[in-house]
């Protein structure tokens, strides 16, 4: 049943977050190997590995790095997105708490691969005294051991690592919102192009790779086992490796489970989470965080890879899986989700600012028992009008659940309204 543990093998060891534990389990063996490779060779392996960005968009990491490598403007930056905040998602926090050195080793390799000498970890402010304290200790240990700083392991490669904090804004999880925030501004996402990878579009206008924590934690694994072998761990084509599924809701066990990329939601539930809790029957599944389209229990046999779910008009997103049981009325659940998006819309684009607030008001009215059938239809229609009209993906991420909750669970809405 269970696939290989590429990222979480150390997690149950005592003090799994220390350098000593990480090294005892084979940590920092990929770094010297990588430093002896040509940077382009590393990127080629990442391309072969079919590693897809674990933050939500699923962009091929190797391709992103090739964009940055092609740029001739220096300095180049690598920015680590540790601003985890998509409802349902808590796997990056788990990496920071339980195996921060995997991220540290991965980002050193990533920086070497794209010729970056100064990297920033942008982390949500709430993590400061917990998850990020662990990462900061890991960075200090790595510096002490000669993995960060000047002339790393005699390779001639220099790297400085800086940690910075956000201050509570979901929008800064968008890569350009994050770059704005890193520059000391409010996190308004940027109009693209230029893209962050290109000159003029990244941090301080320099070519920049923005990568998620989990994405980078995979780098030591890819260097150690090779891109082809990593790709084969995934169950579906073009989706390599494993994924840290953050499971919450009404399954018997919740938490972060490492399973092969592309595992079905049914297998994840039955083989990793012990099925649904006592007395619960599966009713609905959020497959990739609050902004992904909802799935029914009958769709639980869908594979969880990026391409399958995109074809099914939802998304793999951040790997945040929420299993709901029969106690949940989906109209109430959508009202909750929409309050979140209305609260977190940054207000820059009118369709999102007005649309999320409007949807939230309508849904609150519906769940208060004051709605009419027409209100449900309006939610669906407003959601459709918000799509593809904004600078970042927040509005689409609010529209996707709004449409799908109604399409797949219309009875839950109709039960609450007149007419």
């Amino acid at each position: 049943m269970a696939g290989p543990k590429l990222l979480s093998a150390d997690w149950d060891k005592p003090e799994s977050w220390t350098l000593a534990t990480y090294r005892a389990g084979g940590g920092y063996q990929a770094l010297p190997k990588a430093l002896k490779m040509q940077p382009q060779q590393i990127v080629d392996e990442v391309v072969k590995s079919n590693l897809r960005g674990r933050g939500g968009a699923g962009f091929p990491t190797g391709m992103k790095w090739n964009f940055v490598r092609k740029e001739t403007s220096f300095p180049k930056y690598l920015c680590v997105n540790a601003d985890e905040g998509e409802p349902g998602t808590f796997k990056d926090r788990e990496i920071l708490l339980r195996s921060p050195h995997m991220l540290v080793e991965g980002m050193i390799i990533g920086c070497f691969a794209i010729d970056c000498h100064r990297t920033y970890v942008y982390c949500r402010g709430e993590f400061r005294k917990t998850a990020m304290a662990r990462l900061q200790t890991a960075i200090d240990e790595a510096r002490e051991a000669g993995f960060i700083g000047k002339n790393i392991l005699g390779s001639g490669f220099d790297l400085e690592v800086h940690t910075v904090f956000g201050a509570g804004a979901y929008i800064c999880g968008d890569e350009t919102g994050m770059l704005e925030s890193l520059e000391g501004k409010k996190g308004y996402p940027r109009l693209k192009p230029p893209f962050p990878a290109n000159a003029g579009g990244g941090l301080f206008k320099q070519p920049t790779a923005v990568n998620n924590v989990e994405t980078l934690a995979n780098l030591p694994v890819i260097v150690n086992m090779g891109g082809d072998a990593f790709s084969r761990v995934g169950l579906m084509p073009k989706n390599g490796g494993t994924r840290l599924f953050a499971v919450s809701g009404h399954s018997k066990k919740t938490g972060v489970f490492e399973a092969p990329m592309g595992i079905t939601f049914k297998a994840l539930l039955d083989e990793y989470c012990g099925g649904m809790r006592e007395g619960s029957t599966l009713k609905a599944i959020i497959p990739g965080g609050a902004s992904s389209a909802i799935m029914t229990a009958a769709e639980a046999d869908w594979p969880s890879d990026y391409d399958t779910l995109k074809a099914k008009k939802t998304m793999a997103g951040s790997g945040a899986v929420v299993y709901f049981d029969q106690s949940v009325n989906m109209a109430h659940a959508l009202a909750n989700v929409m309050r979140f998006f209305a609260h977190e819309s940054c207000g820059q684009c009118t369709p999102c600012r007005e649309g999320t607030a409007w949807l939230s008001r309508l849904l609150d009215k519906i769940v208060a028992g004051k709605g009419e059938k027409q209100d449900v239809d309006n939610v669906h229609q407003i959601a459709r009008q918000m799509e593809t009209k904004t600078i970042c993906a927040l509005a689409d991420g609010a529209a996707m659940p709004a449409k799908s909750f109604i399409e797949k669970f219309r009875a839950d809405f109709d039960a609450l309204v007149r007419g």
């Binding site: 808590f90 201050a167 953050a246 309050r339």
Partner: protein, 202 residues
């Protein structure tokens, strides 16, 4: 970066006592050192965190002082301070209890947790107890969804898998701890009431 040519000539009074000033200055130097010298204004978020760590919230004079130290117009500081929900634009209780209201915590009963907190403290979400001891608020997803319901205490401490018993214990324990002393306030008129950036009202 936007062009910032309106550097202020006159020094702005510091809101800190000498001990706070020393910590703020030290922290700010470290934050500046993270950026290329021409982009040191990127340290604005860090400067606001440092100021809030010392004073508990960000008053107008505090924001003006941060603007002065970063050589940016005060409006730029206010813009950032009001955009991010962790920055507090008014004094709060010595302990802040933030109950996560996002979907996984909601599915696991966060509404009951919030109601129970309100009951125990005798205040509504968004309010502070009369003795200045507690502020109760709703917060959005804390990234602790598998350990729901979750609470964030005093901005940085996670309390997970909350049930009635652990909640009562938490509040009892917090009553016994001094917590952060807020800088004097409140403002006679709160200019940010109901505006984006406040968690109240959501």
């Amino acid at each position: 970066m936007v062009s910032l040519s309106t550097a202020q000539a006159a020094p702005v009074a510091s809101p800190f006592n000498p001990e706070q000033q020393r910590r703020f200055d030290e922290g700010l130097e470290k934050a500046f050192a993270k950026y290329p010298s021409e982009y040191r204004r990127a340290a604005l978020l860090a400067a606001l965190h440092l100021a809030q760590d010392e004073l508990g919230w960000l008053s107008e004079p505090t924001m003006a002082y941060v603007a002065f130290r970063l050589d940016v117009p005060p409006v730029r500081v206010r813009e950032v301070a009001t955009f991010y929900s962790m920055y507090r634009k008014r004094p709060v209780g010595r302990h802040q209890i933030g109950v996560c209201n996002s979907v996984s915590c909601w599915a696991m009963g966060s509404e009951k947790v919030l109601a129970r907190c309100a009951d125990m403290l005798g205040i509504r979400p968004g309010e502070t107890t009369n003795d200045g001891q507690f502020t109760l608020e709703e917060v959005t997803c804390l990234a602790a969804c598998g350990y729901a319901p979750a609470i964030l205490v005093d901005n940085f401490t996670y309390v997970e898998n909350v049930n009635q018993e652990s909640l009562e214990r938490l509040i009892r324990d917090l009553r016994a701890q001094p917590g952060i002393e807020m800088a004097p306030g409140p403002l006679p008129v709160d200019p940010y009431a109901g505006q984006a950036g406040n968690t109240e009202g959501h």
